[in-house]
Every structure is written in structure tokens, then in C-alpha cells.
Subunit: 152 residues, 4 copies
Amino acid sequence: MLVNRRRILVEFGDCDPAHIVFFANYFRWFDDCTTALFLAAGLPIRELFPSHKVLGIPVVEATAQFLAPATHGDELLVESTVAEIRKSSFVITHKFFHGKVRLLEGRETRVWAAAHPTEPNRMKALPLPKEVVERLSGTHKKAGKKSARTRR
Amino acid sequence: MLVNRRRILVEFGDCDPAHIVFFANYFRWFDDCTTALFLAAGLPIRELFPSHKVLGIPVVEATAQFLAPATHGDELLVESTVAEIRKSSFVITHKFFHGKVRLLEGRETRVWAAAHPTEPNRMKALPLPKEVVERLSGTHKKAGKKSARTRR
Amino acid sequence: MLVNRRRILVEFGDCDPAHIVFFANYFRWFDDCTTALFLAAGLPIRELFPSHKVLGIPVVEATAQFLAPATHGDELLVESTVAEIRKSSFVITHKFFHGKVRLLEGRETRVWAAAHPTEPNRMKALPLPKEVVERLSGTHKKAGKKSARTRR
Amino acid sequence: MLVNRRRILVEFGDCDPAHIVFFANYFRWFDDCTTALFLAAGLPIRELFPSHKVLGIPVVEATAQFLAPATHGDELLVESTVAEIRKSSFVITHKFFHGKVRLLEGRETRVWAAAHPTEPNRMKALPLPKEVVERLSGTHKKAGKKSARTRR
């Protein structure tokens, strides 16, 4: 399965009066890291969503365990992994580190969602396109690349 | 156990390009609703934390199931409950509604935390003060009130 | 010209490690208060923008003077006014108070903007519709109301 | 005067339903870029503020002109400059670019502020320390560096 690493610099404005990252910001970073994971898989979301006529990949479940706090000036490393792919949803896990210290373990389930055909302000989950499944699972092969690999 | 209700108006800036609330904002609202729950319990956090020499009540675990989306202009009702009180931590649940539609069910575990005595940038969980336990569990009685109740 | 008042409760997560509102949040509140001003004028933006086929009322200039800080638990009062209406733009001023203390004076210029006809990721300012001008300037009269007033 | 450049990747969650950066986020980035400018000047704020016993450098005036919108996936370049240094305040300007397109020109005035000696929830501006003035104005010389430069 696909893994991606991304660095995050904790800013002053990310922190609360307890001088630690306000916890909701980690979920904002979940989203940024999932975007980065998709990009690493060859799936830039800005083009991906309109080209497939979907609204996006909304989160249907998110969970996080906060193991240690971080503060501004800390440079974090986030390791994001595609943990599971289902018919119309998938699971991403995120692990946040500051140096060797593990700060957070999180998990989000997202769906491939379009506007609901009849009800406004609702969404409808659709089956994940084959290309998205292949790219997220790391089994995607480009035509050119495939033959190149076959030759070796 | 204590329950509190709070209204939230979803603003334009709370929503993302999919025209729904950006999911991390719900966790921001978890915090606001926990503050409101504490206030309803007679525990205003601005005075509570310095008077007990703690940094606050950081979240050590948070989870949410997103059942239906909301968009700007929606007025949400959040029902927050003290679900469990342990020695130095407690669990709050939040249920978000838009009219009769249940939008979200969430749960957060928080600790009563002071600055770590020896290591900077770390926190240390402390036993919950008796008054906080009583107020969160709804068993707190003021001296005056108690006698008043006894009289009836 | 139209004036609207709105209350804002400063939350823990709105504040930074200096224990005061992180200044960027005031600009978020500018947006919320402009939405409330539009609503008070009979212009709910969720219906207004799609019905006029515009993207919204993006800010082209914003400025604020921060006169005194606020912290969590403070309840602020914001007074928002339509200060000027031009052909395709308008100026809103916001004054923030905490009790009798004036905290902030701000000003934003916004345009009535649609998607650019030929260039993606750009916008195009359009003339403000007559109804919007009338409602923001407080000169709008409903057919029924007008006659009711004339009668008095 | 000191100049610093910093890249910002616009994320999905930074954008609003009009598919452009929600304008308040630029002011969040002002803060991040000022922190980066201070770091480039040899003034890491996490150590700087406590070592000088100040609360920070709160903004007393901020202004921005929004010239063109940006959306998620855009990588912005921000050029931040110390434009003016006064007794207890200073002015920073920020210019945001996307490729060759200028997106924003902004300006913020900040003060060097400590807790107010007698009134809680207030701040007091103090004269900027000599080292901070020298570093922000680019005239600071380290003992070792100075002689090295003199030798040339």
C-alpha cells in the first residue's frame, strides 16, 4: 500500500493558550496529508474531482490518539498510509512524529462522493474508479512504464 | 450526568470547496461545546485553570462519525454529555443535529493536566479535583442550597 | 445606511499562546458579520449567490486597527455598517466592543463577482443588482409594506 | 532592511465555497511569514519572547489589498520585508505571488508587548531591545563575524 511523508512546521497561530497545538488543527493537517498522499499517487485532487464529476472525498469517520503535545517552532513529520480500500470508501492512517517522539496516531475513513441526484445539500457515495483504486493501492502501471519494467 | 445544549450557526468560512463544513471545524466546535458544558456545570475555564494551576484539559483521544453534511446558513444544535469520569480523565460525547437530522456523533477523552514538573513542553495528568468531579457528575451541592433542599 | 449588531463569544481555540484572540480570527468574524448584515437586509447569501449566478462577494481590500485585546470567555458586540455603495463594489465597516471598550475598527471593500467568462481561476466584478443596492442602502420597500407605510 | 521569502502551498481546507482562499487565511499567513522573517534575522520567537519576558508582537494595524484569487494546489511565494522600525513598533510588508501574478499586498504594524503591570487582560508596549532593532534592520554583527568582515 501507498505511504507518503510530509513535513509540517507548527506555527504560533496553530497553538492555543496552553502553548500547544490546538487539537482541531491536527485534523486540518490530516486533510493536507491526504491531499499530499493522493498527489504522490499521481492523483492531484484539483483535477481529479472535476474530471470525475465528484464533490470530493468527505470524511465519514475520523479518530486520533494524542500521545504527546507539540508547540510552535516544532517541525513535525507525518507518515500517511492507505490502510484499506473498499468499494466506495478507503481508510488512511496518519502518524505524527517530532524527532523520535510519536505525537499522534490517527485514522480517517473517506468516501468517493458526488452530489446527491435528487436531494440538495446531500451527497451520494459512488464506487471508487478503477484508476483511483490502482493508484492508491500502488498497483497502477502506466503503459510506457509497464513495458519498460517488463524489459528488465 | 450533565448534559448541555448549544446552537452553532454554520458560517461561509466554515465550509470548503465541496460546499460543506470542513470536517476539522467540527473538532473546533467540540472544544467550544466542552467549554459551554463546563460553564453550565459552574466551571468557567478561564478562572478554573489558573485557580487550580493547570494548563487545561487537553484531548488525548477524539473520534467522530460524520453522518450527514451541513452547509453555511444551517443552524446546528449540539448536545454534549459527560459520559464518564475517571481518576484524572473524563469522556465527553457530542451529538450534532440539523433539525431532526443527526449529523455527527463524537466522543473525546480529556485529561486534567498541569505543566510537567521537570520536562519542558510536556504535560502531566493530575487527579481531577473533587469539586470538578462533583460538578461534572451533577452531584455538586452548594452549602446554602443543600440546606434549602433538605428543608423541602 | 444599514447597521447590524451581532454578538461573538471568544472561544479558547480562537486565542493564541499570548492568551489573546489570534488576530486573523477577527477577519473571519468580519465575514460572519457581513453575512449577518446581508441577512438583516433580507439578503441570505446561500440563496442570493446562486440565484444571481455569482460566486460571492470577495474582499478586495481589508484593514483593521486593533485597539485592545480580547480573550476567551469575553462576549464581544460587533456593529457592522454599509459605509458606501459603488457600481460593483461596496464598503462595510465593523466596530468590535467588549463592554464599553472599543477593541477594533475595521473596514472591508467587497465586489459582486462572477466566474470570469474566459479565464479559469479568475473572477469578474459585475454591477450590483438594483435589489441588492436598495436593500443594502435601506431604501428597499416591499410592495405590501410600502402601501402599509403610506397609509399611516 | 531585511527581506525573507517563504513558500506556501494552498490547501483544500484553506478555500471556501467560492473555490478561492478564504481571505482571513492570508492574515494567518502574514503571521507565519513574520515568524519566518524573525527566524531569518536570527530571532526565533519561541526563545525570543520568554527570554525578553514579553508576550509577543501583537498586530495593532493590518491591511491587505487582494489583487487576484488563489485556489488549492497553488504554490505561493511570499516576500516579507521590514519596512520601518520605530521605538516600540515596526512595520512588515508582505507580497504574495503565484508565478508571476501578484496576488496580494499587505502591511502590518506590530508592537513589542509585555503584560500590563497593573491591569489584567491588557498589554503594554515596550521599547524594542537594541538586538532586535539591529537584527531586523540587518545591521547586527556577531563578535566573530564582525572581525571576519573587518579583515576583508
